[in-house]
């Protein structure tokens, strides 16, 4: 079965990803999604029932370091705020996301 997406799905995904897209972009993205889904569909040809997934390739586990403060990668408050567009009294300023009531 061919995998395709609808414009509604694409718009929903944009919302999930916190992206604003225009109607025209949504239409265009349906085509891009379908093109990509058609390519990646070939994995269904592989028999993978007995295969374990790989999420990382080096096999390293439980990598820890001494429980010491690393001062070389600490920011001062001023440094931390240096790239923020809006700051106030040493804080980052963010938009309200919870309604008043």
């Amino acid at each position: 079965m061919k995998n395709t997406v609808t414009k509604t799905q694409v718009t929903h995904v944009a919302q999930l990803a916190s992206l604003t897209i225009t109607e025209q972009e949504a239409e265009h993205l349906v085509g891009a999604f379908d093109e990509t889904l058609a390519v990646i569909d070939n994995l269904s040809q592989l028999s993978l029932n007995e295969t374990e997934p790989t999420s990382q390739v080096t096999g390293l586990e439980n990598i820890t370091r001494a429980d010491e403060v690393l001062t070389d990668n600490m920011f001062s408050q001023q440094e931390a705020l240096a790239n923020a567009k809006r700051s106030y009294d040493g804080y980052f300023v963010v938009d309200r996301i919870i309604d008043n009531d």
Binding site: V5, Q9, V10, V13, A14, L16, A17, S18, L19, T20, I21, E25, L29, G31, A32, F33, E35, T36, V39, I40, D41, N42, L43, S44, L46, L48, T51, E52, P53, T54, S55, Q56, V57, T58, L60, I63, R65, L70, N73, F75, E79, A80, A82, N83, A84, K85, F92, V94
Partner: protein, 463 residues
């Protein structure tokens, strides 16, 4: 720019410095002149380091003596604008420096400037850069490849002695092949990612782009090693990679891959010729089969889009950068596809399946490496493509990097060395050499032997 100081290799530069035949300030001036003369056309650099001359002076007593290098613009440099070629980070001045840059600077290198890339390193052309594409200095009607296209172009045009790039799937090797230079992608975990703007965290591998295999080996010595700030770096001992130079490849078993798959017509005969060169050098080369790279495209696409959607979620315009309306089309497309394949109801179908198929590739290569010391193939199925070809091609990069994706998703080390130049177009083909995990020494050994036995390297005969 032949016969000027900027056309020296790293090894030649250090040699001449040691003999006191030249001073680093002369090299720096020559490189700056080269940039001034060419970069308004090539557009390899996004930002130049205004403090360069002071940095050179301060580091002249160190091993690299102030050596000017170009750094891909997805690598953080304290106080020096770092954009990842995206308007989201248009005015971003990092508060810290990536480990790899710190390491080379402590050894005496200086940053000339930051090089162009596909925005967020998403692509294989530099055409998705929100600051405009880079042109291939070998033929300006063509693309340099990508995503490290600016770094490869800078080296190819003698606008930098060496450069640092990053590869997720082909982003060092493919632009190196298209620009006719050497690109080395280390084993995943060999080189620190701390301070590299994260794209696909499970495959991102920084590495050198250089004029010769020797230069790449020398640079890898500085870049490699475990980093306290990146727990995915390996505690594996780091050998002196220059020890692999000049070694015979007699008796090494080499598997030749992908010559019979569809789309190889343009490069096939040149790769066969390269295989013959290795045979003449004493290696035992034979064609062999691996899992189809068509599946690697799918694994990579799903894993990469998923990791991108997660990594790029941090750009909210609060702590740094502009808000999410500044993302370009390609980034939006990738974030959204990753969001889709990771969303409820689809994660098993796509993401888990891709991770399982990734295991198949690892097993497939393990089996191949029981039989062969290394594997070779073309780096790219084509010469550098013409400017503009990526428009409306959602899968351009993945299809271009098809031959490199298997070694990327499996974390293997690889190198691309020039193995043909078309006399009409002046464009190159690269030979890709891969070896088992942690065996960069072996890819360097074979690439160096190949480079010395052939005339494709532009810098080989100079001085």
């Amino acid at each position: 720019m032949t016969n000027q100081l900027c056309s020296l290799t790293l090894a030649q530069t250090l040699n001449k410095l040691q003999k006191k035949e030249i001073q680093m300030s002369e090299i720096v001036q020559s490189v700056l002149d080269s940039i001034k003369k060419q970069d308004s056309t090539i557009h390899a650099f996004l930002t130049q380091n205004e403090g360069l001359l002071g940095d050179v002076k301060a580091r002249e007593k160190l091993p690299l003596a102030g050596l000017p290098i170009a750094v891909k613009d997805n690598i953080c440099t304290k106080g020096l604008r770092t954009t990842a070629s995206s308007l989201v980070l248009d005015k971003f001045l990092p508060q810290y420096t990536a480990t790899i840059v710190e390491k080379v600077c402590q050894a005496g290198a200086t940053i000339i400037g930051k090089t162009n890339l596909d925005a967020w390193a998403h692509g294989s052309s530099t055409e998705t850069s929100q600051y405009g594409r880079t042109l291939n200095p070998r033929n300006t009607g063509h693309l340099p490849g990508g995503s490290s296209g600016g770094s490869a172009a800078a080296v190819a045009a003698d606008m930098s002695i060496v450069a640092i790039g990053t590869e997720t799937a082909g982003s060092i090797r493919q632009p190196a092949a298209w620009c006719g230079v050497v690109g080395l992608k280390p084993t995943y975990g060999r080189v620190s990612r701390y301070g590299v703007i994260a794209m696909a965290s499970s495959t991102d591998s920084p590495g050198p782009i250089a004029k010769t295999v020797q230069d790449a080996a020398m640079m890898l010595n500085y870049l490699a090693g475990q980093d306290l700030h990146d727990p995915t770096t390996s505690p594996q001992a780091v050998p002196d990679f220059t020890q692999s130079l000049g070694k015979s490849i007699k008796g090494l078993k080499v598997g030749l891959l992908y010559q019979d798959i569809e789309g190889m017509e343009i490069v096939k005969s040149h790769i066969d010729t390269a295989a013959k060169v290795l045979t003449e050098l004493g290696a035992k080369v034979e064609p062999t089969q691996a899992l189809s790279p068509q599946y690697a495209i799918s694994v990579y696409t799903i894993v990469q889009r998923g990791e991108v959607s997660s990594n790029l979620a941090r750009y909210d315009g609060i702590r740094f950068g502009n808000d999410r309306t500044f993302f370009g089309d390609e980034a939006k497309r990738r974030i959204m596809l990753g969001t889709y394949t990771l969303s409820k109801g689809y994660a098993d179908k796509y993401y888990l399946t891709a991770q399982k198929a990734r295991t198949l590739f690892i097993q497939d290569y393990q089996k191949l490496f029981e039989k062969y010391d290394c594997l070779i193939s073309a780096t790219s199925p084509s010469f550098a493509k013409k400017i503009g070809v990526t428009e409306n091609a959602a899968m351009f990069g993945e299809l271009e990097d098809m031959l490199l994706e298997p070694s990327s998703i499996t974390g293997l080390p690889g190198i691309s060395v020039p193995c043909y130049k078309d006399p009409q177009t002046n464009l190159f083909i690269g030979l890709n050499i891969i070896a088992p995990m942690w065996r960069e020494d072996r890819v360097i050994q074979i690439a160096d032997a190949f480079e010395k036995a052939t005339d494709w390297n532009t810098w080989k005969e100079t001085k």
